[in-house]
């Protein structure tokens, strides 16, 4: 697999080009929502890029494709799959891979990402990102699936760390060890979801900072930030749910800054998929992420000056 090519744009931003489809700025982006199509096309807001869930654009035509085409003419795009079931025991769905390839060809995304999770069992699609134990068997399966994806799409993909609510007795290595080995064997990149780190750290009782500090930062091509809900488990301890239904929590913003100090500026997505807010509210979250990136960049300049 080709490694990511990098170029320095006019304003000094390192832009990555994983798929060969043009640069992705190291700025904030948001998920493209039908509720905001008109806001975006009417005002052309100054935002770095948009991300789409691939499966929402697998219809034959209609408004989704018409609006996405118009948005794509103005902004870079990140294609984010939610249904490939890369972490599943069974084979990948060839038809689904073909549908993804068609989207890649049509919309020329700068990035393609999917999850370290499974969502299909036999012929049933469960519409959720379900967890897997981290062990030699699943490592081999995930790597074979990623090889297949990168071969089919002819580009490097990014694999996203999940949020999980249970863990498996069969697990024999840490998630970071697992991801590091996947990268080594397949040449894929990583999508670091900082919110998922925070959620998991709380749910499974480990240190989010330690997780971030051990994460293979040099392979991170994109970062996700999203809101989470708070519940409690059977022992009355905090149980966080990655619901993408509100703004990003302050504790997650702090972790984001810590993550950026290791990865450098990276394209950063604000995920807000449920109870979708008005465009100004979502745009404000993106600007907040941009401010953190700018702050990180100026700190670095000061240090190196």
């Amino acid at each position: 697999m080709d490694q990511a090519t990098a170029q320095v744009t006019a304003n000094g931003v390192i832009a990555q080009n994983l798929t060969g489809n043009g640069p992705m700025p190291s700025r904030a982006g948001v998920g493209l929502k039908p509720e905001h199509y008109r806001d975006i096309l009417d005002a052309s807001p100054d935002i770095g890029w948009f991300e789409i869930h691939a499966e929402n654009y697998m219809g034959d035509g209609g408004p989704p494709h018409a609006y996405l085409t118009a948005v794509r003419e103005r902004y870079p795009l990140s294609l984010h799959g939610v249904g490939l079931s890369i972490g599943g025991a069974g084979p990948l769905d060839k038809n689904h891979l073909a549908r993804l390839k068609a989207l890649v060809d049509r919309y020329q995304p700068a990035l393609f990402s999917e999850h370290l999770a499974w969502s299909s069992h036999d012929t049933v699609y469960l519409n959720d990102l379900l967890p897997l134990p981290y062990m030699e068997e699943t490592l081999a399966t995930v790597c074979a699936h990623i090889d297949e994806v990168q071969e089919a799409l002819q580009c490097q993909m990014l694999l996203e760390n999940p949020s999980t609510y249970v863990a498996f007795a069969e697990t024999s290595m840490s998630e970071v060890e697992f991801l590091r080995e996947v990268v080594r064997r397949t040449g894929c990149g990583l999508l670091l979801d900082v919110s998922n780190v925070f959620v998991q750290a709380t749910n499974h009782g480990f240190s989010a900072s330690d997780y971030l500090d051990s994460f293979p930062a040099e392979h991170v091509g994109e970062i996700h930030l999203g809101g989470h809900a708070e519940d409690s488990d059977d022992d009355g301890e905090a149980l966080l749910i990655d619901d993408h239904g509100r703004g990003v929590a302050d504790s997650v913003w702090a972790l984001y800054s810590r993550a950026l100090s290791r990865t450098g500026p990276k394209p950063t997505l604000i995920e807000w998929d449920n109870d979708v807010p008005s465009w100004p509210v979502l745009f404000a979250e993106a600007k907040r992420a941009d401010a953190v990136i700018a702050d990180r960049r100026s700190n670095r300049v000061r240090v190196s000056a």
């Binding site: 469960l126 959720d128 897997l132 699943t138 007795a169």
Partner: protein, 258 residues
Amino acid sequence: MIPFSDIERDFAWAVLDGEASVPGPLVGKSGRATSGKTVTRSFAVYQNNVYASLIDALASRFPVTARLVGEEFFQAMARIYIGCEPPRSAVLLRYGTSFPDFVVQFSPAGSVPYLADVARLEWAWHAAYHSADATQLTLAELTEAGPDAEDITISLHPSLGVVRAPFPVVTIWQISGREGKDEPTQLPDGGEDALVVRPKLDVEVRRLPEGGAVFVLALKGGATLQEAASSAMQEAPAFDLKANLAGLITSGAIVSVR
């Protein structure tokens, strides 16, 4: 060492069957082994995510159906449907095609006899929204093609759907789909047939005149203009070919003639 395929199978079954016990072997916080029972609330997050997201997907494409029976009833009905017929594709926008048939069979909804018809109309709307695009034929182009020739075949827009109902489904859908409280409205007697088509970006729903449904369905099946018109006249002797053809053109439902 338990093979992952077994773990995945047990997990999937436990998620789909809300009554099933938490699959083993799971571990609780900090990796300490548990009997499985102590991660019940954690495991329930997955069950809730799966059902809630699929119920939301159905509610978003059957909004008037949901409004007619109320949120609580709709969610309960959708949950049973999901358990019986879970999605078979990761392309979730295709999910729900069999939901209207399920509603027909769902006896607790029997007191709302037109519910399944409304659901069929809403599915036709959803399918039209995501269907392939095509450029509609103008009246001038149709005239040029020789509309008097009765052996011509008409290609209809790929988004086009017809819903035939023994109840006034278009009227019910229009009234119930409006926001806010409505004045009591006298429903028309008898059934209504709906033409659903998306000529450009907006899905349009129209009532078909008498014989119109047979006519359009025959055209859709590849019949010539003459054949379709005589099928329509068998059902509705007063069938007006010119008016029906004009209606199809103004709906943007015709793509080409040959």
